[in-house]
Symmetry: C2
Subunit: 384 residues, 2 copies
Amino acid sequence: MMHLKRHPHANVIDLGVGDTTQPLPTTVTASMADFVHGLSTASGYKGYGPEQGEKALRKAISVAFYKDMGIKPSEVFVSDGAQCDITRLQLLMGPNLKIAVQDPSFPAYIDSSVIIGQAGKFVDNAGKYKNIEYMTCGPQTNFFPDLPSISRTELIFFNSPNNPTGHAATRKQLEQLVDFARLNGSIIIFDSAYAAYITDDSPKSIYEIPGAREVAIEVSSFSKFAGFTGVRLGWTVVPEELLYSNGFPVMHDFNRIMCTCFNGASSIAQAGGLACLSPEGLRAIQSLVDYYMENARMLVDALTSLGLTVYGGKNAPYVWVHFPGSKSWNIFAEILEKTHIITVPGSGFGPGGEGYIRISAFGLRHSIIEASQRLKYLIYQKQN
Amino acid sequence: MMHLKRHPHANVIDLGVGDTTQPLPTTVTASMADFVHGLSTASGYKGYGPEQGEKALRKAISVAFYKDMGIKPSEVFVSDGAQCDITRLQLLMGPNLKIAVQDPSFPAYIDSSVIIGQAGKFVDNAGKYKNIEYMTCGPQTNFFPDLPSISRTELIFFNSPNNPTGHAATRKQLEQLVDFARLNGSIIIFDSAYAAYITDDSPKSIYEIPGAREVAIEVSSFSKFAGFTGVRLGWTVVPEELLYSNGFPVMHDFNRIMCTCFNGASSIAQAGGLACLSPEGLRAIQSLVDYYMENARMLVDALTSLGLTVYGGKNAPYVWVHFPGSKSWNIFAEILEKTHIITVPGSGFGPGGEGYIRISAFGLRHSIIEASQRLKYLIYQKQN
């Protein structure tokens, strides 16, 4: 990396990639280690599991995350992660349709769409793909699209809490989104990977919204709330009521994709996931979430005390900082050069992210404290 | 299952699905458990790994399987299994090309091709998809296609040792295959998932053949030789010299697919894979392979002693039994009804499998002994 070449002795703090840093709770690793040791015994050995995931885990997910929402274990498909499921969903839908994405948003929706062949040409001066509908989600509209101005698309990717803005859509916003999808015959692919970080009463699942079962698929993951970024475990919910326009259940097609293109998540990761969802596991996981959210609060406090306009950090471990009139890459470069802190330029999340940077709160506490001080000093210098 | 409804007390022996049954070596599970315990410590915690796999594992694979073949660690992409990689390769190649497959062969090549949209219509009376080139591989041609009669396709899926026939292609056959691909500008997708079961001097990798680096991708897996069917670990080799007709390296595109549509194999499975490839691990794994091959020999002996025509079982843990003039499904049903043994009807692997059944040697020893006796008794009854 060039920065380290120029500053070989710099103590670089990486608050760029949203990668977890806290050790896993011992209750989770003990369960996985037990399962692993079992694999070398005649009674504990297990070969192929069901492609859709172990029954016990599907049930535990439906109880832990979808209580009172009517999601059955058979509607939960366990996977090796949300990003992989997003590609499988694109594969399911094929190249001949249009997608809408929040702008800014997690790049995987667009990147996988480009690979499947839905995106069309990249238009340089707009920073957009021709066939993709970009739904601007900025502070002017409380980070929600102006739906009446959005063209109808077959798929709508919607991430809440949003990466990078940290905004969790309100109940009213999600009601509007579900209405919009029902009216247009669109399918919402709702990415709730950060739902565990919600601290207010924003919905944690699209299925909290009446009518969502007929129009929405939900993709989620153990990566961010349980620190499973390397262990690899996620899930996708496809409700029975979700039908193609010809009346065929989408669930049957998704099941076919899972059985043809996937062979199940690692049995060890699944044992770990089940341990996360035990009462003891859930308590332990919550303390991981609290840790990162305390980091986020510290970053938000430091930056707002300097008069900066800061979003996120309340319902998500991302802080979204606005530098009106500046270019994301210039802000990124200046912060890196002067404080040795790696952030992500907002424009990497779409043209709507221009003028912003994203700071991840997934760091170690001492790095967050040090980073806050360095940022304060930098901005103090600039202001005086 | 209907059979169990009709025979609720039957002791059913499943020699159908090729699923491993032997416990993992303790040297492998101990390494995985150590890694897992490390995940709850500050020094041992790991988040996202490289999408292409841990460097040490990529290197160990290149040494263990491709010694003297010039495969570099950077050409090895670690994954969650061969079936998943086959889909990712189809995704890479897109819908607008033709594929050739051995007939009979592992159904995933065709199934994933159907999902991508390459296969065309299914022609019922032929039992074939219109756009797929079926390369008949029967005993008349020593289980190798009559290449001069095969149309040019962009991709050639080739599985050796073959599932279901158990045939390992000879060096001469593979030389012909590589020549054929070079002449036609085709890419071979060589599936070597059963290479560890080869007992004669048949090549274990396509890269043993000079010139293969320019025309072949190799897909392989820890599932069958290390019992990792549930743990999930595989790899794909894409050599630097493999180029599209416009000169662009296929490797760069595959790398992009891995980074966009995949987030790395489970770090725990990777730790297990590394342990399998240590000197101690390799010895332990070899005894698993020997166990299944002893099973295969017992099945082959029992069936040949009855005068049946039996293939496979020598270089692969599958026994391929010919019942000339009979329909696969009828043989399957009769064996199930009279002996309570589950096999796989050969026609499930393509029209070239008609008249055969596949018996898996991945069972427990006592099941294999019991199954051999039941089969002997059934056939003795039929013959007398």
